[in-house]
């Protein structure tokens, strides 16, 4: 996916991928976020993910490590933080030239659900999305107006993403290793004596 260079708005380390999604929605951003998990080894080499936004609503996603786009890329990017996040702004017509975009497209609420695990943010995002995009999400389980209890229905591809995640032993081992290092560092830092 070739994106034009945007104007950098924010660059920071955050603990949760919810931040760029909520920030883009608040700003009504047209542009993109680049997410780089601190443990980039989890994404096999150059592990960054891109989420594009139109008027604050996620549109396309891509994971550089696995070179996958769309919902599969969200599965690749779903991992514990911290993340380094950069938020870029683009002119409104910047995406018009992307004619191969369909393969990268995700339903509006899916990044908030899969990356941030935040059904409330997903619901707000769907409310902000143009009707055409929400309708297009029907059948992928994303059009329902979920609530904070996460009781909305999920799509078959979402289920298989969970199973694919659980099948990725290398990624899970990396998550465990990172958590163990954190736990030990914190025990020292907070002196659980």
């Amino acid at each position: 996916m070739n994106l034009p260079d945007g104007r950098l708005l924010k660059s920071r380390v955050v603990s949760d991928p919810r931040y760029p999604l909520a920030e883009a929605l608040d700003r009504n951003l047209t542009g993109y976020a680049v997410l780089e998990p601190q443990e980039t080894l989890l994404l096999e080499g150059e592990g960054r993910g891109v989420v594009t936004f139109r008027d604050g609503v996620p549109d396309l996603t891509y994971a550089t490590g696995t070179e996958r786009g769309g919902p599969a890329a969200l599965g690749d990017l779903a991992m514990p933080g911290p993340y380094h996040v950069e938020l870029y702004e683009l002119p409104d017509d910047a995406f018009d030239a992307l004619d191969d975009a369909a393969a990268f497209r995700v339903p509006p609420g899916m990044p908030a659900e899969r990356l941030a695990g935040d059904p409330a943010l997903a619901a707000s995002t769907r409310r902000a999305a143009p009707d055409a995009r929400v309708d297009a999400g029907t059948g992928s389980g994303d059009a329902s107006d979920g609530d904070s209890d996460g009781a909305e229905s999920r799509a078959p591809e979402d289920r298989s993403a969970v199973e694919a995640f659980l099948d990725d032993e290398e990624k899970i081992e990396a998550i465990r290793e990172q958590a163990r290092r954190e736990a030990e560092a914190r025990a020292e830092e907070w002196g659980f004596d």
Binding site: R114, L115, A151, D167, A179, D193
Partner: protein
């Protein structure tokens, strides 16, 4: 006998407090159970247990203004120690005193359930996992929840805390939960205790300020929590030994 469990999830919204009270009520059928809201920064157990007007809470105990006994309420067949929700209360509370509180409670109960914070980012959030004998990990069948649940387990085992098992909560028919639970178990040191169906009853119970097992005892969700509790084999820790351990709460050196 005493065994302390931290009910933890790493991520918010999994229904941890509902699970804590449901497991507590189910275990209370055969044990003397004390439930503590150890989520001192974002307490909500009091709302689930009809204690929103409680005058004395864990905050008062942690700030040295009340005795443990004064913060105990007999509700739904259990002893419930709610935590307050004010910022002042949180600011004045010394989380390190939680171990003293748990040690004192341990002298007089069979099972202690610590409703833990939905985070692993602060000393007070991690302390319940450190103090407990074992954790019950509450999960939803989603990638963020599973990933955070795996983190909780690694924290627990780093601190010498075992895993009693997994509760998959808010499960819908279409979640392929059988396969997901089976795959998940490869990464956890404990079994799946139950899969609890998504339930309007849980939300209604919360609104009514009553635990699920009191509000809708005949619901499928309540039955699943009963199964989960039955699958937990409570161990005899010996109350003095447990109390001593809580008082010292030594973290083993990393291997």
């Amino acid at each position: 006998m005493v065994e302390a469990f931290a009910v933890a999830s790493g991520k918010g919204g999994t229904g941890k407090t509902t699970s804590t009270l449901a497991l507590g009520m189910a275990l209370a059928e055969s044990h003397d159970v004390t439930v503590v809201d150890a989520d001192t920064g974002m307490a909500n157990l009091l709302f689930h247990a009809g204690l929103s007007e409680a005058e004395t809470t864990l905050h008062d105990v942690l700030s040295g203004d009340a005795t443990v006994e004064e913060s105990c309420y007999e509700r739904f067949g259990m002893t419930v120690v709610p935590c307050g929700t004010s910022l002042d209360g949180f600011r004045d509370a010394d989380p390190a005193r939680l171990r003293e509180v748990v040690a004192e409670l341990a002298a007089d109960t069979d099972v202690i359930l610590l409703d833990s914070a939905a985070a692993l980012s602060s000393r007070s959030a991690i302390l319940p996992v450190v103090l407990a004998d074992r954790v019950v990990v509450v999960l939803q069948p989603t990638i963020p929840s599973l990933s955070d649940g795996i983190k909780v387990q690694e924290y627990a085992s780093s601190y010498g805390t075992g895993v009693a098992g997994l509760v998959f909560n808010k499960v819908r028919d279409d979640d392929a939960i059988g396969r997901i639970a089976e795959k998940s178990e490869r990464y956890f040191d404990g079994p799946t205790l139950a899969t609890v169906p998504a339930s309007e009853a849980a939300r209604e119970a919360r609104r009514a300020g009553r635990p699920l097992l009191a509000h809708a005892p005949d619901s499928d969700a309540a039955a699943a929590f009963e199964d989960a509790a039955a699958a937990i084999d409570v161990r005899d820790g010996g109350s003095e030994a447990v109390a001593d351990r809580f008082r010292s709460a030594v973290i083993p050196d990393p291997p």
